[in-house]
Amino acid sequence: MNSFIGFVKKEFYHIIRDYRSLIILFGLPIIELILFGYAIRNELTSAKIGIYDQSNDHVTHEITDKILSSGYFQLYGYLHTTQQVDKAFRDGSVREVIVFGSKFSKKLGDGEHADVQLIADASDPNMSRMLVGYTTSILLNYEQSIQTPGKHQLLTVVPEIRMFYNPELKSVNLFVPGLIAVILMLVSALMTSITITREKEMGTMEILLVSPLKPIQIIVGKVLPYLVLSFVNVMMVLGMALYIFHVPFRGGFIMFISESMLFTITALSLGLFISTTSSSQQEAMMKALAGLLLPTIMLSGFIFPVTSMPKILQWFSVIIPARWFLVIIKGVMLRGVGIQYLWKETLILAVMAIVFLVISMKKFKTRLD
């Protein structure tokens, strides 16, 4: 037992003395959280538009004013030829061009159709959909406002919309749970796999193996410091999320901690597994990046909704622990539900943890080849 404590101490020293890694380890989550909280947005704020006004009369000016004062758009400039429109799109100066047809106000007054063409840069489909949507609704509103009031009422169904759990649609609320998953993966899986392969690469693994330490002690000793580190890290992110970004925390704290622990153990066992299959740090790192971190970011529902993916990827996402962890964390933090709603996901995570742990323990070689 004494030698084990000594070994754990050695591992802690290794980590704490490497201040550069430590700074990053704690700096990365903070910067990510700040980026997600302040900088990363999906909403439309000031998209650059061009106006190609072929009639140039008071109505088109009025509409232009309405569009520009909506807050979504910013005027890049007036364009006068189709060549200019072409050029403005190609060099990325505008996202949308509004073309008013000729004799706009005259046609409108005569009861004819006045023409507006919206040209959107659909190389970003999401953006162009939003741009066209906003512009159309401004135009329709204008159309409505200039009608002479008639006797008949327009038939209307008014949807009353309520957004649950996140009424301001703040993206940071969604990102914090995802970020916690990514950090736990980064610290637990990536770091563990690299420290173990490092001992292999440097040749010091041999020294550890001939020591009186049991293999299980070596593994636990290697893993323990990272367990502590990831715990501190999660607490830090959670604290920032709650006190700086006011992300709601509606569920139970104990539930949150125990689920995080469960996920950490799953991640650690994955890290162990990778280290047993690689011989160099580079290899371990690339495997962890490609096999663990990217799926955690891309396929877990962190940024992109799982249900929008092709069926094959949806099936594939089933084996990604972070996918289940995200469901749990979102449930606990945003919806405030307890284990009675989340036992299924918890069970899946637990099974994954046990399976990987057993496999990597079995594969951990006590001999060099």
Partner: protein, 373 residues
Amino acid sequence: MRTIRFLLQKEFLQIFRDKGMLPIIFLMPLIQLIILGNAATYEIKNIDIYIVNKDRTPVSRRLEEDFLSTKYFTISGYSSQVSEAKKSMQEGDTDMILVIPRHFERDLKNKHFDKLDMLFNAENGNSAAVSQTYAQSIVQRFTRQWQRNHPSLTPVKPQKLINIDTVNWYNPELDYTSYMVPGILVILVTMIGMFLSGMNIVKEKEVGTIEQLNVTPIKRYQFIIGKLAPFWILGLGELAFGLFAAWIIFGIPMVGSLVLVFFVAAIYLLVVLGLGLFISTMTDTQQQAMFIAWFLMVVFILMGGLFTPIESMPVWAQKVTFFNPIAHFIEVMRRVLVKGAHISDIKNQIIVLGSFAIAIIALAVSRYKKVSA
């Protein structure tokens, strides 16, 4: 020149002999391209809708059908109790609840007016907002249809009409992959360049073989060229491979000139490799190098306009992205491949990337010393 050639030979031998790394260098990007190209979409395809119909008349049934006949909505439950629906949302099985009030049909006929309750699970704000626009447009279509079917209720024809015609340039089908894939290629090339080059020199440091190189008559510039050139070639090869795969698998458009793409990529890779080199001069172990490279990658990707548009960021953040090489190269890739931009359209990006390349390589070379501390 001969020295450089030998150095290059050594590096290439090392890269191609490493049986563990080789598949990672070539297979990983392919797999990532396939997975990310398919996964990275903001399009919402499957909204689980729970319908609470308190009216149960033909009209309300038609509204239900209007929702379910689109490809966007799948029914997750049906009842006349809102509390049931809310429970289902709490369990996470329902994204949206549609409540059709009692006397919906009667009110529509008599009062020309009614309210519908739509409740969304807004955990994912973006999805909720998109679902809401879908739902609203369905309701709009429903009312229009209803008016057409009941001419007696239709109001006088509006006299002033604006005819709106929408054109989606460059991507008329609003296909998401042709937007994402060029950006993903940038990430792949960057990863190979930054991580491999960053860790390469540190590895020599960590294992101790750097001493052997330092005592040889190899000059500083020769050493640097010998270390960077292999990854520069590898990166360009990777890009060619990735573009080919993207063209085969996703059929992404290649409107502009590929020569231009590779020209900019050649400059861009210098920036990335310079960064990797700079990292390796700052660190002692591969773990540290990897961590710093990862840190930079994450910030660059998040601020690069790949997933979220740069225009949507606050102004200070937009200014910061000027220093992000990934943002410039993603912009170039999208403009050239999708929009067919000419060299004059992207000259700013080329100038910026070129200056970055010169600055970072100069910095890295000046920091690299042949004497170890």
